[in-house]
Structure formats: C-alpha cells, structure tokens
C-alpha cells in the first residue's frame, strides 16, 4: 500500500486516468440530467417536484462518502504519518462540505412545497447539518496551526471522532421518528424507488462520485506541485542569477520531474 501512496507514483498513476475520468464525469452528469429533467416520469403524489431527488440524493450520498474517505485518510495519516493521506484528507474536506451544503439547500427547497416547511429540527436534518459543521470545523482546524503537521494531527482526530456521525445520519430515520421519510434506496427490502426513476438516480450518483475523484486528483496534484515549488524556493533554485536568466525554470522542470521519474 505504501508503495502506491508515494507522491511520484500518485502523479504517474493519475496522469493517464484524469482525462478519462473527466470525460466519464461529463457524460454521466449530462446523461443523468437529461433523464432526470426530461426522460423520467413524474411522481404519483409529488409531480415534477420529485426531480429535486436526482440532485438531493446524490449530494447526500457524496456528503457521507467524502466524509468516510476523509476519516480513513485521517486515520492513515495519524497511524502511518503518511503525507499523501493527509493531503487527500485536506483535499476532500471542501468537496464534501460543498456536497453536504448542496444536499441541505436542495432538501430545503424540496421540503417547502412537499412538507410545508423549509427546515425542521428532526434527527436526519440536524445530523446532516452537524456533518456540514464537522467539515467546516476540520477545514478551520487544519489551517489554524503554524505547523502544518500539528494542524493535520488535530484535524485527523476531529475527522475520526466525527465519523460517529455518519451512521447516525444514515440510520437516524430508522432509529427515531423524523419528518424525513425512511431510506428509499439502501434498505432491507430493496429500493423503494420505481425502476423508471432508478436510472437517472444511478447516473447522477456515479457522475457525482467520479466528479469527486476528478477534483480530488486535481487538488492533490496542485498541493504536491505547490509543496515542490516551496521546497525548490527554500533550496534557492529560484534565486536570480544575471548570467542564467532562464536557469530557474529549467531547474524547476528538473526538480519537478526528479521525483516523478524516480
């Protein structure tokens, strides 16, 4: 596992995957939106409002998925002190926070016409709001220290403890009375969503998931490159030398590829 977690290996592995993943994301979300908005039936009691589900459910899934990923990366960074795990956790947090916020916003827009309220403090809605606060708290905490290693330690601890909230979000509708309806998709008796509505839902969930990986790879690469630039700056490679005007950029290229070509 550690062999694959080296930054140079990460760059080499993700380089060919990225364009395919980006293409797949575009196709999945375009097809998903087409089926969600045009080529799927209305609901027998909610009418066209049911189409909010095709954004709301994938966003909720991604909010939980990203959190689990962040917590696992946090654990790996605490136990094995692996820098790439920490970078992945930091890169995941804003993506997951955005999905969670999207879930809360679409849920609110859906709740007003159907339930008759924008917001209630039931167990599902409240635990989802706590999930958003956990993301925001993590982002604030990892950036609150001058020493990044201390920041990632504190952040990883918060991410791990907060992982308790993930099963609470998922099972809140089974454990307690809520205004939110029970699970429609991942449940004992199989999906309670009509097959004609499952296709757009599946496409959107896959599209959102691959979108997450595209953004994750981009953010991790950005962070790796920034760290390399910082290291090169510290080593004095960018210092102005009048007789070698482009030495800096050439040295940067050398430094950039040095690790990737190992």
């Amino acid at each position: 596992m550690h062999r694959f977690a080296k930054p140079s290996v990460f760059l080499k592995l993700t380089d060919p995957i990225l364009p395919w993943l980006a293409g797949a994301t575009a196709i999945l979300i375009a097809a998903g939106l087409y089926f969600a908005l045009f080529a799927s039936p209305i609901d027998y009691q909610q009418g066209d409002t049911v189409r909010i589900m095709y954004l709301h459910v994938p966003a909720a899934w991604m909010g939980l998925f990203c959190y689990v990923g962040m917590a696992i990366c946090g654990a790996m960074s605490l136990i094995w002190k692996h820098p790439l795990a920490d970078i992945c956790a930091r890169a995941t947090a804003p993506i997951g926070a955005t999905f969670t916020a999207l879930c809360l916003i679409t849920g609110s827009l859906w709740g007003e016409p159907m339930w008759g309220t924008w917001w209630v403090w039931d167990a599902r809605l409240t635990s989802m709001l706590i999930l958003l606060f956990l993301y925001l708290g993590y982002i604030a905490l990892v950036n609150a220290f001058d020493d990044p290693e201390r920041g990632s330690k504190a952040g990883s601890a918060l991410a791990l403890v907060g992982a308790i909230n993930v099963p609470i979000v998922k099972f809140s509708v089974d454990w307690w009375n809520t205004l939110h309806q029970p699970a429609s998709i991942v449940r004992m008796d199989g999906p309670a969503v009509d097959p004609s509505m499952q296709l757009p839902l599946a496409l959107m969930i896959l599209g959102f998931t691959s979108y997450y990986f595209v953004v994750l790879i981009l953010r991790v690469r950005l962070e790796l490159n920034e760290r390399r630039i910082r290291a090169l700056q510290l080593s004095g490679m960018f210092d102005e030398r009048p007789d070698h005007k482009d030495a800096g950029s050439r040295n940067y290229e050398a430094g950039h590829n040095m690790e990737a070509n190992q």
């Binding site: 039936p41 209305i42 027998y44 008759g116 309220t117 009375n177 205004l179 309806q181 309670a192």
Partner: protein, 162 residues
Amino acid sequence: MSLSRAKARKRQRMYIIGAVLLAVAGAAALILTAFEDSVVFFFSPTEIIEKSPIDPDQRLRIGGLVVEGSVQKLQDGKTIAFAVTDMAETVPISYSGILPDLFREGQGVVAEGHMNAEGTFVASEVLAKHDENYMPPEVAESLKKSGYWEEIEAKNAEQMRN
C-alpha cells in the same frame, strides 16, 4: 531493531485510535438513548394516549396517518377537524390554517400544538410526512387496483409507531 520498534509504535497508535473511537461511539449511544424523547420529532397517537392527560401548556408534536373519512370543515368555516392514527390508537385534531399540498386522507402528517382538556389535539402547524416510495402515477394506480396499497399504508402506520 529500530524497524520493529517503529512498527510497534504504529500498532500502538492504531489501538489507541480504536479505543478512543469505541469510547466516543459508546458515549454517543448513551447520550442519544438518554435523550430519546427530545431526539424523536413527534409522538405517535399510542404514545400520546399513554402519556395523557397531558398538560395543555406543553407544546408537542403528534404524527400519524390521516384517518379516511375523518376530515371535515367545522361551522366557523376555517377550522378543520380530522383524526390521525397509527392503526392502534386514534387522536382527533383541530386546526385552522393552511394545509400542505400533500395533506389528504391516508397521508402521513405531523402536527405541532397542544392537547386540550377534551382530549383533542389543537394544532398550530400541520406538516406533511410522505413515505419512502416514489413511483409514476400509473404504477400507483395498478398498485391500488391490485390491493397492494393497503400493505403500504399498514407499513406507513407502523413507521409512525416506532
């Protein structure tokens, strides 16, 4: 020698993290069980009957399915009377205000308000609680024809009880 010590430290960190997580999960479970009454969003008609008589000053929420044929407009023209049930107990509700679009007989609702001395729940707000089933109108029609619909409603009533 130093390698194995590093390994032992990693294992130790893993155990500590596992123990802390177990402790936090246990604490969360205890807290959530202890405050169950404030975590639940509403009480079922059965729980309301068990708790009664309830102080009229106490605000609470009741949830259940609207009883078929129970909805009627009172003489004053704005108060609506209906009853909610969980198939075990039934509680009458009176409400004057705007009902959500999904409100209808057989539908799940959650009402907020208080119990009056006569055992009627006086609601100040009524919200619709729909179930987890999504389907096109044609599918709903055929389910109603095949008689499977009652099974769904019985399950929804059971959902209200737990």
